[in-house]
């Protein structure tokens, strides 16, 4: 479970994140929907301790990340916006590198790596150096790398960005699987359909603020529109920076 309360972050004069609070629960997919530049990535970066919030608290499974950032990171699996792989290492070596940094013993590491390679369907590329991978192959490898330590909480920043239809569908299936395993899945997106199709709860964010949150039904009711995508546009006030 992930709890954020009253997060703020400014860059110069720009209030990138301006009082964001929400909770992402275990066994649910929580979607962070907002146009490009709304503050989604900055919120997630504060959540996975890359940046320090100016005010507010973040708790991961009850652990305050300001007082125990390392403990919080152990409980997080993160696919950041930056998802570069080491191109002179094979996909498997990329995954194992992160597993060793998590301190996994060799037996657990082997078992976890095999399980993720099978679950993500990347057995055919596992022994290949990642140079020249397609976007889909890169994202799958990066996800396996992020989940090698079997985290309870999974953060994905715009996971389907740049993926083709096949890869996007596979990734959505995988996210549902993570949820069904009882994990807390939090992902950001500017694609309305994706959020509508996947999420148990939706947090709509615009100009650094949470402008609405709730289940899809609650959001439809709040906007007074049966079409969820229309509801999003009404809530945010513009279509700019969003995709269908």
């Amino acid at each position: 479970m992930i709890e954020l309360s009253d997060l703020r972050k400014t860059f110069g004069a720009v209030k990138a994140v301006d009082g964001v609070s929400f909770t992402a629960r275990d066994g649910e997919i929580t979607g962070l929907l907002g146009p490009n530049g709304a503050g989604k990535t900055t919120t997630l970066r504060m959540l996975y301790t890359l940046m320090k919030p100016e005010t507010g608290h973040i708790r991961v499974d009850g652990i305050d990340i300001a007082s125990d950032p390392t403990g919080a990171r152990r409980r997080l699996g993160v696919l950041p916006d930056a998802r570069g792989l080491y191109k002179r290492l094979t996909a498997r070596e990329n995954i194992e590198y992160f597993g060793r940094l998590h301190g996994l013993d060799e037996g657990t590491l082997k078992a976890r790596t095999e399980a993720l390679i099978a679950a993500l369907g990347i057995a055919d590329i596992a022994e290949r150096r990642t140079e020249g991978f397609s976007n889909g192959q890169r994202v799958k490898t990066a996800i396996a790398r992020a989940l090698v330590h079997d985290p309870r909480n999974v953060l994905l920043d715009e996971p389907t960005n740049g993926l083709d239809v096949m890869a996007t569908r596979a990734l959505r299936q995988f996210m549902l699987k993570l949820r069904d395993e009882g994990r807390c899945v939090l992902f950001s997106s500017h694609i309305m359909q994706e959020v509508a199709a996947l999420c148990d709860r939706i947090v709509v964010i615009a100009r650094g603020r949470v402008v609405a949150q709730g289940t899809p039904d609650e959001l439809r009711r709040q906007a007074g529109d049966d079409n969820l995508e229309e509801a999003f546009v009404k809530i945010i006030g513009t279509e700019e920076g969003l995709s269908l």
Binding site: G71, R74, L79, G84, Y86, K87, Y97, R145, A146
Partner: protein, 391 residues
């Protein structure tokens, strides 16, 4: 395995797979010094041998005014040549090293017992001509003194009268120390190897990692940034020390191939000296790796880091150049300054003078201390929030 070890081995393995890094680090970087040095040594040897053994050729204008001098010079093996039409131009164009002109007044002055003037046309800024000019001057001085002695003897005076003071040249240079002059550039070549050896890895491991968007995911792992930095810094150090070892081995193997003893010097660069040099120069690797890592973390892009790091490699050249332009007597405090102390202890080693234990200890100690301070600065920069933010 501790996280820093995980990072260390990953960096070493990843860079070992890059043919370009391996080639530029361990072939170009390490052999450049020994090859440059070998070329220089053989050049010095061949020039010195040629100059010393070649008969002196001297174009003379107005030889008919001084037949005795010319005849005497010929008995001393000088080949008297026809002078060029414009001797000044010939010297300026470096066609000739020196031209002797005997003025028409020479014979008259000689007969009158006055100093007879000869003109030696030379260009003092020409290093190539130095040896020839010196040989001509020595020969004329010898002729002059011979004539003076004869004149005194004719008058019944002991020639010793005109030599109240005599300088006896007691040269204290040993064959090794003369070789050391030839080896004056060795300190820079070795120090350069240590800096350059880790340069590519340091740039790649921090600025490159950020540019390829993998630093952010790396920092999300439950590992302190200090540990990640330490692994990368130590990998840089490992590459730097490997470069140094290869370079020294190449020196040890190649130096005996050159007949330096023919020009009267001994170069001490055997396995024992090379092992000592490794111990003395290795601590500098920490400063190099620390600076390279700091700069790579500070730079905004890979290109910027590359540019800075290329300039950084030139940093150790500064003490070497100062010492070459303005050689100073080694003072005790100099052994406490990294780079300067290395200049001194390396030179002492190759000159065969030996390095005192306190000199080595002071140099190694202060270098490690400065290295640790720089590593600490690198760690501070690693903790900055925007380190990982590439976009």
């Amino acid at each position: 395995m501790s996280p820093w070890k995980v990072v260390f081995w990953k960096e070493v393995r990843e860079n070992a797979r890059d043919k370009r890094t391996m080639f530029s680090t361990f072939v170009l970087g390490t052999l450049m010094g020994p090859v440059l040095f070998a070329v220089l040594i053989s050049l010095v040897i061949s020039v010195q041998l040629e100059r010393a053994e070649k008969p002196l050729e001297l174009p003379v204008i107005g030889a008919e005014h001084a037949p005795n001098l010319i005849a005497w010079m010929k008995t001393r093996g000088v080949v008297i040549e026809e002078a060029p039409a414009d001797p000044e131009a010939a010297i300026r164009k470096r066609d000739e090293d020196a031209v002797l002109r005997v003025p028409a007044a020479y014979a008259e002055e000689w007969r009158a017992g006055q100093p007879a003037t000869l003109e030696l046309i030379v260009d003092r800024s020409q290093q190539k001509a130095e040896q020839t000019v010196r040989r001509v001057e020595q020969m004329i001085a010898e002729y002059s003194s011979l004539t003076a002695t004869q004149r005194l003897l004719v008058r019944g005076i002991s020639p010793q009268v005109v030599q109240p003071v005599l300088i006896a040249d007691v040269d204290q240079s040993t064959p090794q120390s003369r070789g050391g002059m030839l080896l004056a550039m060795l300190p820079y070549l070795l120090i350069l190897t240590v800096f350059a050896g880790g340069s590519y890895l340091a740039t790649d491991a921090t600025a490159g990692e950020r540019e390829r968007q993998s630093l952010e995911p790396l920092l999300v792992n439950p590992v302190g940034r200090g540990e990640i930095m330490a692994g990368k810094l130590l990998a840089t150090l490992a590459f730097a020390l490997a470069s140094l070892a290869i370079s020294l081995t190449a020196f040890a193997l190649s130096t005996p191939l050159f007949p330096v003893e023919k020009i009267g010097i001994v170069v001490k660069l055997g396995p024992a000296e090379c092992a000592q040099l490794f111990l003395l120069v290795a601590p500098l690797g920490l400063i190099g790796a620390g600076l390279l890592t700091t700069v790579s973390a500070y730079a905004k892009s890979f290109r910027e880091a590359q540019t800075y790091n290329t300039l950084l490699i030139l940093l150790p050249a500064i003490p070497s150049m100062l010492m070459a332009l303005n050689p100073v007597k080694p003072a005790d405090w100099m052994y406490a300054l990294p780079l300067l102390s290395h200049q001194l202890v390396i030179e002492q080693t190759v000159r065969g003078e030996g390095v005192a234990l306190w000199q080595a200890g002071l140099s190694i100690g202060t270098t490690l201390l400065v290295g640790l301070v720089i590593a600490f600065v690198a760690m501070r920069i690693y903790h900055r929030e925007h380190l990982a933010i590439s976009a």
